[in-house]
């Protein structure tokens, strides 16, 4: 599904050069649920951005779904993001001026679905996160957990094969975090591959596989499948 070899990423500003990723290697298989942990500034978000085609990289190669992405132009990358990847952000990133329906609608518009198809998908995915009855509400009228659920619905509406989440529970209290986590697990159970960055060890352990990033490198990999399936539901 995702195959990164020797990925390098350097940020250059006037004053400093930051090597955000150095020889980053990672394989993620179809249907996997990978939790990425690591200290702040270690390159987790950078990795996720590259994985999600939000950022380019300087060295190494990256194959997504068997396709080498380094030659893609902006339009192709956008299309790939739209069709294959779903994003969940720490601060939800809902569009404040749009109601829930229109928020979930955003990626579907870029996909070019017709109106009935979009409506069906929006209703389905909002239903999945349990917010179908709030369709006409604005994000500001929801709690943080609810907002993140809408963001998940938005990520899922296009039925991506691959879900990327950057600290999806970072702005939530633990109860809400757990409910979001179990939602992600449900989604993974239906076959969607998930890569989630988190600093919460507890949550990380609930994923199928954990990787630890330090100084822009994957420093250890271990399977967690032998652990009890879930600490709490």
């Amino acid at each position: 599904m995702l195959k990164m070899t020797e990925i390098k990423k350097v940020f250059r500003t006037d004053l400093v050069e930051t090597h955000a990723l150095r020889d980053f290697n990672l394989h993620v298989d179809e249907g996997d649920f990978v939790a990425v942990t690591g200290p702040s500034g270690s390159g987790k978000t950078t990795f996720l951005n590259i994985a999600g085609l939000l950022e380019t990289f300087e060295g190494g190669s990256y194959q997504l779904d068997g396709e080498d992405v380094s030659h893609l132009n902006d339009k192709q990358r956008s299309q790939m993001r739209n069709e294959k990847i779903g994003f969940i952000f720490q601060s939800f990133n809902l569009i404040p001026d749009l109601d829930l329906f229109d928020n979930v609608d955003v990626p579907l518009r870029y996909r070019g679905f017709n109106a009935p198809e979009r409506r069906k998908r929006i209703e389905q995915s909002l239903d999945l996160v349990g917010l179908a009855n709030r369709m006409k509400h604005l994000p500001s009228q929801l709690s943080g957990g609810q907002q993140q659920r809408v963001a998940i619905a938005r990520a899922l509406a296009g039925e991506p094969r691959f879900l990327l989440a950057d600290e999806p529970t970072g702005n939530l209290d633990s109860k809400m975090a757990n409910s979001v986590m179990s939602l992600l697990q449900d989604i993974n159970d239906r076959g969607t591959t998930i890569v989630m960055v988190t600093h919460d060890q507890e949550l990380a352990r609930q994923a199928k596989r954990n990787i630890y990033v330090r100084d822009g490198k994957v420093s250890e990999l271990h399977e967690v499948s032998e652990l009890p399936d879930a600490v709490t539901a």
Partner: protein
């Protein structure tokens, strides 16, 4: 792909900025369309031809003051001498100058009697050289002969019995007949005094450029026995300026019992007569340009601000699959929607202002097609103005979506 629905709904939740732009566009359109209309009307007015040879003609005043000054003798001598001067094509004495602002008007009527209305006409008193000097063309009938020319005394009441009129005047007097048939007909001046139309000239404007019947003019076969009089001189092509100098010197020296003054070319006269119109055109043009720039800068300013405010949102859209083109389109479309509200409001305001101008200032009602053209222009201005900020928005890095502020 068109996202009018969500863009519109998002706009409605953030109305103030959009409304401000829409009103600005509406008022800008109102001013611009009305200004363009006024400019067009004024330049049409300025482009009308006076009928005379403007490039080569000039005139001057001669005022006798000395005891010994004899107007009749002086005029005869002056004209004979002027016509002989090198570079002079022809010269006449005349009572008023076309398009100069000051002149003499009378009413002509087709039936005798005070109870009938006359048609206003500008009167030019000239001798048989008038047609040639003014560079007119007789298109029906004939020119005056030397024997037709009489002397008009100051405060004289009676009129000659022959006149030449312009084609427009013939059509105004006899609206149902072809103009040629006016030749030989009798019209009445001072209610009852008959005059026979002996010729029709193609075109000659009245002295008053703002008059709605500026093409109504007549030639009366007279010299004026006035101590203060005007000469109108047509120079050979290209020699006007040198002739003007010679004529002034010649006349001043030929008779010291008079003064020569107010020598002016017709070109300068035209410039003076239409100065208000040309000033209005220039002022309105300046206002239009500045106004368009101000409105465009306003759009640029507010759009840049709104792009800055929505950076995160733009990054998110990019992450969710929007291409750069899609982001560009979003802002262009958003501006198009705002502009649309503006130009439709502007169409109504434009008509409103025009109605006001028509009622208050007797301007003409605007032609309908000005409105759609104005709308399209304002749409284009809006799109051009928003293009920069939209381009900037399209260039926002998608990675901004994952940045935690």
């Amino acid at each position: 792909m068109l996202e009018i629905g969500p863009i519109f709904r998002a706009l409605m939740r953030n109305k103030v900025g959009a409304i401000l732009i829409a009103i600005q566009i509406a008022i800008t359109m109102t001013i611009i369309v009305n200004a363009v209309f006024i400019i067009y009307e004024r330049s049409q007015k300025m482009q009308r031809e006076s009928g005379i040879d403007e490039a080569n003609s000039f005139y001057l005043s001669s005022a006798g003051f000395a005891e010994s000054f004899n107007a009749k003798v002086s005029i005869k001598e002056d004209l004979a001498a002027l016509r002989q001067l090198p570079g002079v094509a022809n010269a006449i004495q005349i009572n008023a100058i076309p398009i100069s602002g000051g002149g003499w008007s009378m009413g002509l009527q087709t039936q005798a009697g005070a109870e009938y209305d006359g048609v206003g006409v500008a009167v030019y008193m000239v001798d048989e050289h008038g047609v040639d000097t003014l560079d007119l063309e007789i298109i029906a009938g004939e020119n005056f002969s030397p024997s037709d020319i009489g002397w008009r005394e100051t405060a004289q009441r009676l009129w000659p019995d022959k006149i030449i009129i312009t084609k427009s005047m013939a059509e105004a007097l006899f609206p149902d007949d072809p103009f040629e048939t006016a030749v030989g007909k009798t019209v009445f001046i001072n209610d009852t005094e008959p005059m026979v139309i002996t010729g029709i000239i193609d075109k000659l404007q009245a002295p008053w450029v703002g008059w709605d019947r500026v093409e109504n003019a007549m030639l009366s076969p007279e010299n004026l026995n006035y101590e203060s009089t005007r000469y109108f001189i047509r120079a050979e092509p290209g020699q006007r300026d040198s002739v003007m100098k010679n004529v002034e010197e010649f006349l001043a020296e030929s008779n010291t019992g008079r003064i020569i003054r107010s020598m002016r070319s017709i070109e300068e006269t035209r410039e003076r007569s239409y100065r208000g119109d040309s000033a209005m055109i220039k002022i309105l043009t300046t206002v239009m340009i500045i106004l368009t720039v101000v409105t465009a800068l306003g759009i640029v300013g507010l759009a840049s601000f709104s792009v800055n405010r929505r950076k995160k949102q733009i990054g998110t859209r990019r992450a969710l699959g929007a291409s750069q083109g899609a982001i560009l389109r979003y802002f262009m479309l958003e501006n198009f929607l705002i502009s649309s509200v503006g130009v439709f409001l502007g169409a109504a305001l434009t008509v409103g202002l025009n109605v006001l101008l028509v009622n208050q200032f007797d301007l003409d009602p605007i032609d309908w097609f000005y409105i759609p053209i104005g709308m399209v222009i304002l749409w284009i201005v809006g799109q051009l103005a928003v293009f920069g900020p939209a381009k900037k928005a399209a260039n926002i890095a998608p990675a901004i979506a994952t940045r935690t502020v």
